[in-house]
């Protein structure tokens, strides 16, 4: 009976020693230990445009209007801290008073009530214009190279071209839009991490 009690005590003491040693085992396994610290700096995606509007003035049907200068009219500057890819999209032009719309062409063709917007990247092939559509799309050069701004302060310039719709009607061969209206549209230039 006493022997059994002693056996139990020995087992208990042994178990207690093993448990007490467990936390020390890694320290015993090697002489050096390391602490790895990881952290992330915040990404700042920020671009600025030096033009916020393009006032064309009076427009005639089926006519081409180009910014002046044609290639370096607007400068995009990377004001953030990471490499970004530039994207562009347009929208339909609407009459300021409402009730009359020109839909934005999905290519560079125009029709009655359909206008086209195009951009030209500075120092790209002359007369290489790329259509702006209602779909948010990567801004590219004529050869397909994506426009990227590598870091803070990086810049790219571009110009715009607008083709007005074909006339709403014609009298004696002279085309007209329906009455005089102020038309307005917006181009959105955005940056995403490249």
């Amino acid at each position: 009976m006493q022997v059994r009690k002693m056996d139990k005590r020995i087992v208990s003491i042994t178990l207690a020693i093993v448990l007490a040693l467990i936390p020390c085992l890694p320290a015993l396994a090697e002489g050096n230990s390391t602490v790895t610290i990881t952290m992330a700096t915040e990404k700042d995606i920020d671009i600025t445009l030096d033009k916020a509007e393009w006032k064309i003035g009076d427009v005639e049907p089926n006519t081409e209007y180009v910014t002046d200068p044609y290639a370096t009219w607007c400068t995009i500057t990377n004001s953030g801290n990471c490499m970004v890819e530039i994207r562009v999209k347009g929208e339909d032009a609407v009459c300021v008073g409402g009730g009359y719309t020109w839909t934005l062409s999905s290519d560079n063709t125009t029709a009655k009530g359909k206008y086209a917007l195009l951009y030209h990247v500075a120092y790209d092939s002359a007369d290489s214009y790329t259509p702006i559509t209602t779909i948010d799309t990567q801004m590219k050069k004529a050869n397909g190279d994506v426009i990227e701004l590598v870091g803070n302060g990086a810049q790219k310039q571009f110009g715009l071209k607008l083709l007005t719709p074909k006339p709403d009607f014609a009298v004696d061969g002279v085309g007209h839009f329906f009455r005089g209206k102020q038309m307005q549209t917006t181009i959105t230039i955005s940056a995403v991490i490249a």
Binding site: T164, V171, Q184, T185, V192
Partner: protein
């Protein structure tokens, strides 16, 4: 009233599950927020063209005697502009070409008198149609003058001469001239 602790525990777990679900739903949207946008506003103006073509542009009545009524042939007016219009009409006094001091005033009430003459228009395809008095004030005589360059509107004119100045005659005996003006305003 206190809730049983088991029930409170279940509610807490449900709230935690819902919060987790919301966070999981939001996670896919986070990359889309990682962008910056700037806009360029383009404004342009289409021109307003108001142009009315009238044919013929003169009406030669010939010799006229006191109180006579004369009716013209048909005049045609065509909207050559790019706006839906309301056409306005107005007249003015008639003046003797050789003696500008001799005039016939234009009636404002449809009655003639000595040296007061009357002018009317009549349309068939305008709104409002029918006959109307022409005065020195502008009045709408065709409110549906739309952009339909090849669908012109038509009207006629009627003139009633003044009463005689004396013994059934007018003074002088010369050519009297007046002008009717048709103009358009955007409807």
């Amino acid at each position: 009233m206190m809730l049983p602790s088991k029930l409170v525990e279940q509610i807490n777990m449900r709230i935690a599950s819902i919060a987790l679900a919301i966070i999981l739903i939001l996670i896919p949207s986070l990359p889309a927020l990682a962008q910056d946008s700037e806009t360029i506003t383009i404004t342009m103006t289409t021109k307003t063209v108001i142009e009315i073509e009238l044919s013929p542009t003169d009406w030669d009545i010939g010799t006229i005697r006191p109180e006579e009524i004369h009716e013209s042939g048909t005049f045609t007016m065509t909207n050559r502009g790019n706006c839906d219009l309301r056409a306005l009409i107005k007249g003015k006094e008639a003046v003797c070409v050789d003696n500008p001091d001799y005039k016939w005033e234009l009636s404002s009430d449809g009655y003639n008198d000595k040296q007061i003459y009357v002018l009317w228009y009549e349309t068939s395809d305008c709104t409002p149609g029918g006959e109307g008095l022409i005065t020195t004030e502008e009045n709408v005589f065709c409110s549906n003058f739309g952009i339909d360059g090849y669908n012109p509107k038509h009207f006629g004119l009627k003139l009633k001469a003044p009463l005689a100045d004396y013994n059934g005659y007018f003074y002088g005996g010369g050519e009297m001239k007046t002008t009717i003006t048709i103009s358009g305003v955007i409807a």
